[in-house]
């Protein structure tokens, strides 16, 4: 399932790239770190200690000269926690049974950049700020393993989610830029059917993320 969806996403990127004249494209790789506050806060709090989790990854941006862009991003979260129980009053109890969760989002987003140029006063160098907004889809692979699990008790699930984002790129030099954005994702279909997420009535594996990218290219 994961492979199929990934291949489909890659194909979409390839088609779009092919449809754009090569001379009008810029391919810019980037590394990314994401701090996400998951919507399923109770679930993450109870099992992984915090609703805030860090994801690391990288990707590739295809930018056109007309300021359209397409990002292809792969990130990953890998955390150890404990199985837990949430009481009726919301109190969380951890049961000291090790649990390991991974989340691997593969996201494709398209959007538009709005370059703004201004001159600094202290140095005679232009700092380019490029705000951007976008939206996209992602394939979210989630695995969960625990001690004492038997067949069928671990989780390996993949689901499509949706995202919107907005941020700005700051050009640090001719070839390096720093991008910061906020991204909202909604990922139904994985949480909410069982586990703490069901108990807490939380069915979204998405959240609000602050993302920072170091991007190479003009």
């Amino acid at each position: 399932m994961t492979l199929r969806v990934t291949a489909t996403a890659a194909a979409v990127v390839a088609v779009l790239l092919a449809a754009t004249p090569v001379c009008a494209q810029q391919l810019r790789p980037f590394a990314i770190v994401t701090v996400e506050r998951f919507t399923a806060a109770t679930t993450f709090d109870a099992t992984l200690d915090s609703a805030f989790q860090v994801l690391w990854g990288g990707g590739l941006e295809v930018a056109s000269r007309k300021n359209w862009f397409m990002d292809f991003t792969v990130t990953r979260m890998s955390r150890n926690g404990q199985r837990a129980f949430v009481a009726d009053d919301g109190q969380e109890f951890r049961l000291a049974i090790p649990l390991h969760a991974t989340l691997t989002p593969i996201e494709v987003s398209v959007g538009r950049r709005f370059p703004v140029r201004r001159r600094t006063t202290t140095r005679r160098r232009r700092l380019t700020v490029i705000p951007f907004v976008g939206a996209g889809v992602g394939v979210y692979s989630y695995t969960e393993t625990s001690d004492f699990s038997v067949a069928g008790e671990d989780v390996d699930s993949t689901h499509v989610g949706y995202l919107v984002l907005g941020g700005a790129e700051f050009r640090l030099s001719k070839w390096i830029g720093l991008m910061a954005d906020a991204q909202y994702t909604r990922v139904p279909g994985i949480f909410g059917k069982a586990g703490v997420s069901q108990q807490a009535g939380e069915s979204d594996l998405g959240g609000i993320a602050g993302r920072v990218r170091v991007i190479l290219g003009r």
């Binding site: 949430v86 090790p98 390991h100 969760a101 991974t102 393993t145 625990s146 989780v155 997420s197």
Partner: protein, 532 residues
């Protein structure tokens, strides 16, 4: 009775009598508060008579971080439902097969297959294949090659704690029914930091000799029993229940004092289900076999009456017992007792007090379904107090035991056993005092040539089959103790967890027969992951 055992009984009884006569009336009990005078350290070894084939009494009201390694590879499930580690096949090539041939064989069965250096202590190789590939198929193809001796997926293995107690497999259907074996895999420590108070008829927890002047008395049926005169009555700790350091703060609210010995057998049996010594190669197993036990005697039986107890159990002894347990470190209270009739605010008050101090209480749901199914008063209180649970009984087929009371107060079910349709094996077995051995307390003449009333002994034990919600209750108390050891310490949360993971029986959802269903020990202790 064999000749040898008759000789043994004669010998030990004579010894006990001799001890009594030697010490005589000049002896003083260790604790002057005790109405009964026990002699210490005069002890006799207990007599263990094995597994009884006799049914117990019909159920009636019982008297009143250190993270382990993680498995990061998701398992695949084979055709027979057996999980195996994805991406691996174990293969043994025939002797003399060259490395080149081995690699060639691997390449033929799996394009992505690789074979790394042979692991230590292995006479086989580990083939890495695509994690999404069917390892059983790959193994089958490999097995058919002439250069391969065998090949198989890396099927998962699991810990399996099956107690080695002598009669466990034969007799303890009840523990397997609630998935205790897999629960013990999770929580083997079994609550060593947790004290469970058993408020009952006492517990056979100590070795002693009681000096007793048996006078004539009239029983409930107006039978006149002749005086026995001075007798020495031996007591022994139940050998499959009591270990050094196990007993905490014993208390007797029937006779007073700190020697709540069991003259009935009920409390010892209940304590056995809760925490019989387990995996010791002897007898039977218990749910939370490492908990500390606090014997609190709040109710008496026939022998307690013969011995002069003025109160065989009432709301005040129960309420005082609950408060005593809560004030002396108990984290769980087992109440395999109950009554019908008017409300019991004094007990409710005590229960709420105990819960406020972090104590979980399990209460028997009642055995009177076929006797008009009256409201079980203590169980009804339990249903209104978060952190106190009333317990119904199921038989060996997971059906409501025929005697188990039904009503809005039933919150959870556990194995209580039943003889009807199952015989003696349908009950819940545990070790307790064998009151039928060497003593008789019936109507005059019913003991044959023996007097109607002779000296009992409380140092002879048997593994008896009992049935009742009394027997179901310690399953819940034991699970609560394990859960507390596991990290859920709030009594209300313990109750919520036990309900949440119960196996629903009867109509979907909560019902008056089973409450939220049959307890499921393993799932309760394991808790929940994020998504499953």
């Amino acid at each position: 009775m064999t000749r040898a055992s008759r000789r043994y009984i004669l010998l030990t009884t004579t010894a006990a009598l001799a001890i009594f006569l030697l010490t005589g009336a000049h002896s003083h009990g260790e604790n002057s508060q005790d109405a009964l005078t026990f002699l210490y350290p005069y002890t006799l070894p207990p007599v263990d008579r094995g597994l009884s084939t006799v049914e117990g009494p019909e159920p009636a009201r019982v008297a009143t971080k250190n993270h382990a390694r993680f498995t990061t590879t998701i398992d695949r499930v084979g055709r027979e439902g057996v999980p195996y580690a994805a991406g691996r096949v174990l293969v043994k090539f025939r002797d003399g097969t060259s490395t080149a041939v081995r690699l060639n064989s691997v390449a033929r069965v799996s394009a992505a297959g690789t074979m790394s250096e042979r692991p230590s202590y292995a006479n086989f190789d580990v083939l890495s294949i695509d994690a999404n590939a069917d390892a059983e198929d790959v193994a089958n193809v490999l097995s058919q090659r002439s250069d391969v001796e065998y090949a198989q997926p890396a099927y998962r293995v699991y810990k399996r704690f099956v107690p080695n107690d002598q009669f466990y497999q034969q007799a303890q259907w009840n523990l397997r029914m609630v998935d205790m074996e897999r629960a013990w895999d999770i929580q083997r420590a079994a609550g060593s930091a947790i004290t469970v108070a058993v408020l009952d008829s006492g517990v056979a927890f100590e070795n002693a000799v009681l000096q007793f002047n048996g006078s004539s008395f009239v029983d409930d049926l107006d039978n006149v029993h002749a005086a026995l005169g001075p007798v020495a009555i031996p007591f022994a700790a139940a050998p499959d229940l009591i270990a050094p350091g196990r007993i905490v703060a014993p208390r007797d609210f029937v006779f007073g004092g700190v020697h709540p010995v069991d003259l009935d057998g009920h409390g010892t049996h209940v304590s056995g289900t809760l925490g019989e010594l387990t995996n010791n190669g002897v007898g039977l197993a218990g749910v939370a076999f490492n908990v500390k036990i606090m014997p609190v005697k709040v109710i008496g039986g026939d022998w307690d009456a013969v011995f002069g107890a003025s109160d065989l159990g009432s709301d005040d002894t129960v309420a005082r017992g609950i408060r005593y347990a809560a004030d002396n470190g108990a984290k769980v209270i087992n109440l395999s007792i109950g009554r019908n009739g008017p409300s019991a605010p004094v007990v409710e008050d005590a229960m709420r007090y105990a819960v406020s101090k972090g104590v979980f209480i399990a209460v028997a749901g009642g055995n009177f379904f076929e006797a008009g199914n009256p409201i079980e008063v203590l169980a009804e209180i339990a249903s209104r107090v978060p952190g106190v649970m009333s317990v119904a009984a199921v038989d060996p087929t997971r059906n409501r035991a025929y005697y188990s009371s039904t009503g809005s107060w039933v919150e959870i079910a556990a194995p209580g056993g039943a003889y009807r349709g199952f015989g003696v094996s349908g009950g819940v077995f545990q070790q307790t005092v064998d009151l039928a051995f060497g003593a008789c307390l019936v109507a005059p003449g019913a003991c044959g040539t023996r007097p109607s009333f002779d000296a009992p002994r409380f140092d002879v034990f048997n593994y008896f089959s009992f049935a009742g919600t009394s027997m179901a209750t310690p399953h819940v108390a034991g699970l609560a103790a394990l859960l507390m050891q596991q990290g859920i310490t709030d009594p209300a949360a313990v109750e919520a967890a036990i309900k949440r993971f119960a196996t629903d029986l009867g109509p979907p959802g909560r019902d008056d027969q089973y409450g939220f269903g049959l307890i499921e020990a393993r799932d309760t202790l394991r808790g929940l992951g994020l998504a499953k």
